[in-house]
C-alpha cells in the first residue's frame, strides 16, 4: 500500500517544500495527491509521536514534577523538541526597548505537535477590517473565497464543535464538525454567569477527534478523554501533521523528507524564477543545493521571512520591491484573569479531563457596539476558559500551616476559574523583523532582529477584557486573584501567544504587498509562501485553521498551474 519514496539524489522534485508544520504538511498532502513529486526540507530532527510521546506518565515521573523550565517552557513532557523560546546556537536579537519572544520547535511536524488546537473560523469582517474601521489593510479575498476551504479543512483535520450563530462567527456547513464534548461544571457556571450578563458562551471548535477517522494509511482514533494534549497524541486524536498529512503523503511515493535540513536561502535561475534552495545539514554542517520547478516556503512566519530577506541580490531581500517584507508583524494580544469561586469549593468529584483543553469559550460579541463607536478599541478579542480539578494555585490558598492547609487544598481544588484573553493586534510601523547586520547563527546564516510595540488600540482592548472578566468574577461572588495591573503590565510580550503573522502580506498588487492571494510572490512566479507570513491582518481568532485553508487553496492553485504547463 505504501509506495517507496523517490530518491531526491536521483530524481529532481517538482516542488520543494520548506517546513513540515500546518502549511507544509497541507502542501505535501495536497500536491502529492495531485501527482507532483515533493521534496520536504525540515530544519528539525525526525520525530514520531507514536514512539516518543510519553502520554500516560504522571507528572511525578518527571524532573521538577514536570514544571516549566527554560529548557522545556511548557513542561517536561511537552512535545516541543530542540527549541522553545530559544534554540541553542540559533539566536535572534531585538531592537532596544523591544520585548519579543519567538517560539520555535526543531522537529518534524513543527508546532502542530504541541499546538493549542482552538480553531475558530474567521468571519467576513476579519478579511475586510479596514473597510469597517479604516485601520490596516483589507485582504484581497473575502470570507466567501475561503469558506469552501474551511469546510474541507475541518473535515480533513477533524474538528469538534457546535453552532455559534453570532455576527462575524460563521457556522460550518452541515457535516463538517464532530460533536463537541459536554462542558464541565466550572464551564457551566461561567456560561450561566456570562449569559445572565449578555455575554455569549459557545462550544469551542477544537481540532480533537470525538469520532474515529478511519484511513488506510493513517487511521486516527477518537479522543479517549485523558492525558494532556501538549504532550502529543499517540492515538492521533489531536491533529498533528506527523500522524496525518505526512504519512498520507509519504504513502503516495511522491514525498521525500529530509530532516535536519536548515534552509539558508532561495537560489535563482533568473530574476523572476527560483531554481531551488541551499540548506545546511544541522548534524554535519555539510552544505547542499537542491532544485525543483517550484519552491514553497512554509517555514513559519518569521523563518520564511528571514529566508527571503537572506535571499536575492540586494539587502532588501528577495521578492521585496514593495518594501513590505518583514513589516506588519503582529501577534495576538494576551492577558489572563483568575478567581477563586467559593461556590465551587468542595464540590462533588468526577472526571474533568475531557478532551484536554477548554470545551467552551466566549466569542467576541461587541461588533455592533464597536461599529457605533461605543468602545475605545477597534478590534475584537475572545476568552478561552479554564477551570478543573487539580492542584489549586498558591494564590487561592490561605497562609496557614498544618491540618488547615490540607483542608484548604481540598476545598480549593477545582474552585478556581481562569479567563484567558486573545485579541487582535493592528499592524503598526514599529513592529517588524529585519536581518541583524552583526549576528549570525551557528551555520553562518544572518539572524532576525525584532522590533515590537503594542499600540493604544491593544492596551485599551486588554483593559476592557480585564473589566469584563472581573465583572464576571464578581457576579459569581468570586475572589479575584489577579494583582490590579495597568494594561501595559497586564498584556503579554510580543510573540508570547505564538501567533506571529503578517511579515510577507498578501494584497491586490505588487506595490503594496509581497504575495497574491494564493501566496505566489509577485516577483518570482514559481515561489509560493504558505504560512502565517502572508496574512494581511490577524483577527482575534487563532490562525491555524486559516493557515491550513489558505495552504490548501494555494496548493490546488499551484497544482493547476503545473497542469497547464506554467513550469514546463
Amino acid at each position: 500500500m505504501t509506495a517507496a519514496a523517490f530518491d531526491p539524489a536521483e530524481t529532481t522534485a517538482d516542488v520543494i517544500i520548506v517546513g513540515s508544520g500546518a502549511a507544509g504538511g497541507m502542501a505535501a498532502y495536497s500536491l502529492t495527491k495531485a501527482g507532483l513529486r515533493c521534496l520536504m526540507l525540515e530544519a528539525g530532527r525526525d520525530y514520531d509521536p507514536k514512539a516518543e510521546v510519553n502520554m500516560m506518565a504522571p507528572e511525578s515521573d518527571a524532573p521538577l514534577r514536570g514544571a516549566a523550565t527554560p529548557d522545556k517552557p511548557f513542561g517536561y513532557f511537552d512535545a516541543t523538541v530542540g527549541g522553545g523560546w530559544e534554540v541553542d546556537g540559533e539566536p535572534y536579537t531585538m531592537r532596544e526597548g523591544t520585548d519579543f519572544r519567538w517560539y520555535r520547535a526543531r522537529m518534524l511536524g513543527g508546532r502542530t505537535n504541541h499546538w493549542g488546537r482552538h480553531v475558530p473560523r474567521w468571519g467576513p469582517y476579519d478579511f475586510k477590517a479596514r473597510s469597517r474601521d479604516g485601520l490596516g489593510v483589507d485582504w484581497p479575498i473575502g470570507y466567501d473565497d475561503v469558506a469552501p476551504f474551511y469546510d474541507r479543512v475541518e473535515r480533513m483535520i477533524g474538528v469538534n464543535g457546535g453552532r455559534i450563530e453570532l455576527e462575524n462567527h460563521p457556522d460550518s456547513s452541515p457535516g463538517c464538525l464532530m460533536p463537541p464534548p459536554k462542558p464541565r461544571i466550572p464551564e457551566m457556571l461561567l456560561e450561566a454567569t456570562c449569559e445572565s450578563m449578555g455575554i455569549p458562551v459557545r462550544a469551542a471548535h477544537t481540532a480533537v477527534l470525538t469520532r474515529d477517522m478511519p484511513d488506510d494509511v493513517a487511521p486516527r482514533s477518537a479522543c479517549f478523554n485523558a492525558t494532556p494534549c501538549g504532550r502529543g497524541c499517540t492515538i492521533g486524536a489531536m491533529f498533528q501533521t506527523t500522524t496525518s498529512f505526512l504519512p498520507m503523503a509519504k504513502a503516495t511515493g511522491k514525498l521525500a523528507i529530509v530532516t535536519d535540513a536548515m534552509v539558508s536561502k532561495v537560489v535563482m535561475a533568473s530574476a523572476d524564477r527560483a531554481a531551488g534552495v541551499d540548506y545546511v545539514d544541522r548534524k554535519t554542517g555539510a552544505r547542499h543545493r537542491v532544485r525543483a520547478r517550484a519552491v514553497i516556503l512554509a517555514a513559519g512566519t518569521c523563518e520564511t521571512t528571514r529566508l527571503l530577506l537572506n535571499s536575492g541580490d540586494t539587502p532588501a531581500g528577495l521578492a521585496n520591491s514593495s518594501g513590505q517584507l518583514g513589516r506588519n508583524l503582529t501577534d495576538s494580544t494576551g492577558a489572563s484573569f483568575r478567581a477563586y469561586v467559593p461556590a465551587l469549593a468542595g464540590r462533588p468529584r468526577y472526571n474533568e479531563d475531557g478532551i484536554g483543553g477548554q470545551h467552551i469559550y466566549i466569542p467576541f460579541w461587541l461588533y455592533q457596539e464597536q461599529q457605533r463607536g461605543e468602545l475605545d478599541f477597534p478590534r475584537g478579542y475572545h476568552f478561552e476558559i479554564g477551570g478543573r480539578f487539580g492542584i489549586p494555585p498558591a494564590a487561592a490558598l490561605p497562609r496557614v500551616w498544618g491540618a488547615g492547609l490540607k483542608k484548604a487544598v481540598r476545598a480549593a481544588s477545582g474552585a478556581t476559574i481562569g479567563m484567558t484573553l486573545r485579541g487582535e493586534m493592528i499592524p503598526n510601523k514599529d513592529s517588524y523583523c529585519e536581518i541583524d547586520p552583526g549576528v549570525k547563527d551557528r551555520f553562518g546564516i544572518p539572524v532576525l532582529r525584532f522590533a515590537f510595540r503594542w499600540s493604544q488600540h491593544e492596551l485599551n482592548q486588554v483593559a476592557h477584557g480585564q473589566r469584563t472578566a472581573h465583572a464576571v468574577f464578581r457576579r459569581m461572588n468570586a475572589t479575584i486573584l489577579d494583582p490590579e495591573l495597568p494594561p501595559e503590565k497586564l498584556i503579554t510580550a510580543g510573540g508570547e501567544i505564538i501567533h506571529e503573522l503578517g511579515t510577507a502580506r498578501m494584497g491586490p498588487d505588487a506595490r503594496s504587498s509581497v504575495v497574491d492571494s494564493y501566496g505566489q510572490t509577485w516577483e518570482v512566479g514559481n515561489l509560493v509562501l504558505m504560512d502565517g507570513a502572508i496574512f494581511a491582518s490577524g483577527a482575534h481568532k487563532n490562525p491555524t485553521l486559516t493557515i491550513l485553508a489558505l495552504a490548501l487553496r494555494a496548493s490546488e492553485r499551484l497544482a493547476a498551474r503545473f497542469k497547464t504547463g506554467a513550469f514546463a
Partner: protein, 232 residues
C-alpha cells in the same frame, strides 16, 4: 521577569497540562504590621553556599525515561529537617500521610538543586531559611529546630504565616511561602496527594466524554440558586 509575566506563563502552562499551578505568593506588605511573638529575631544569613556546577536536562531529553541530571544539595540533617517541616505543614490525617513521610524533602532537594533561574532563587531562599530557622530556634530555645519541643516549633511556624510581617521577618516569611508552595506541589502531585484531593482522572475513557455526574449536576443547580443565576 515581572510578576505579571510569571503569572501569565504559569496560566499558559496550567491551561496546557494538569493544573500544576506555578507559584504566585499571596500578597504581602512588609514592614507594616504584626510583630513576631518574640523579642529576638535572628539575622537572615548573609550568604548561602554557592551551587555546584550543573547542567539542565536540555531541550530534547528522553521523555520515555525521565532523569534528574543535576547533583543534589541537602545533607542528611537538612533533608531530615525538611521532612520534619513537611510533616508539620502538611501533617498526616485520616485522608493521607504527612508530606515528610512521603519524602517531600527529596523533592525539595531536587527542586532547589536544579540549574534554572526560578529554582536558583528558591535555593537561596530555602537554604537561607533553614539556616535562619536553626539560628532563631537556638536564640529562643537554645537548640536547633529539630531538637526543640513540638509546642516551640508550632510557635515558630505561627510567626511565619502572618500576612503583614515586620521588616525583620519579611525574608523568613517569604521562605515559608516558598517552602509551603513546594510542599503543596511536591505532595499533591503524588498519587497519595491526588487521592487526598479526591482527584479522578488520568484514565482513558473511550466514547463521548461523560460529563458531570448527577450528583455534581444537582450541586450545580443549588449553586446557581445560591448565586441567583437562572438555570438554563
Amino acid at each position: 521577569m515581572t510578576p505579571s509575566r510569571r503569572e501569565t506563563l504559569q496560566w499558559v502552562m496550567a491551561a496546557a497540562a494538569l493544573p500544576l499551578a506555578r507559584w504566585t505568593p499571596p500578597a504581602m506588605a512588609a514592614g507594616t504590621d504584626t510583630p513576631p511573638p518574640f523579642d529576638v529575631v535572628a539575622d537572615w544569613p548573609d550568604a548561602v553556599p554557592p551551587p555546584l556546577p550543573a547542567r539542565g536536562y536540555g531541550r530534547d531529553p528522553d521523555l520515555m525515561a525521565p532523569k534528574v541530571p543535576w547533583p543534589l544539595t541537602l545533607n542528611k540533617a537538612q533533608r531530615a529537617t525538611v521532612d520534619l517541616l513537611g510533616d508539620l505543614i502538611l501533617p498526616a490525617d485520616e485522608q493521607s500521610p504527612g508530606a515528610g513521610t512521603l519524602g517531600v524533602g527529596a523533592f525539595v532537594d531536587e527542586w532547589i538543586s536544579a540549574p534554572y533561574p526560578i529554582q536558583r532563587q528558591d535555593r537561596a531562599q530555602v537554604l537561607g531559611g533553614l539556616m535562619w530557622l536553626d539560628a532563631q530556634s537556638r536564640a529562643l530555645h537554645g537548640a536547633a529546630f529539630d531538637a526543640i519541643t513540638p509546642a516551640q516549633r508550632a510557635g515558630l511556624l505561627d510567626a511565619l504565616v502572618v500576612t503583614t510581617p515586620v521588616t525583620s521577618m519579611a525574608k523568613p516569611v517569604a521562605f515559608m511561602d516558598t517552602l509551603r508552595y513546594l510542599f503543596v506541589l511536591g505532595f499533591y502531585s503524588l498519587p497519595e496527594g491526588k487521592a487526598d484531593m479526591g482527584f479522578i482522572g488520568d484514565q482513558p475513557t473511550p466514547g463521548d466524554y461523560p460529563g458531570p455526574t448527577p450528583e455534581a449536576l444537582a450541586h450545580f443547580t443549588d449553586m446557581l440558586d445560591g448565586l441567583g443565576l437562572p438555570v438554563s
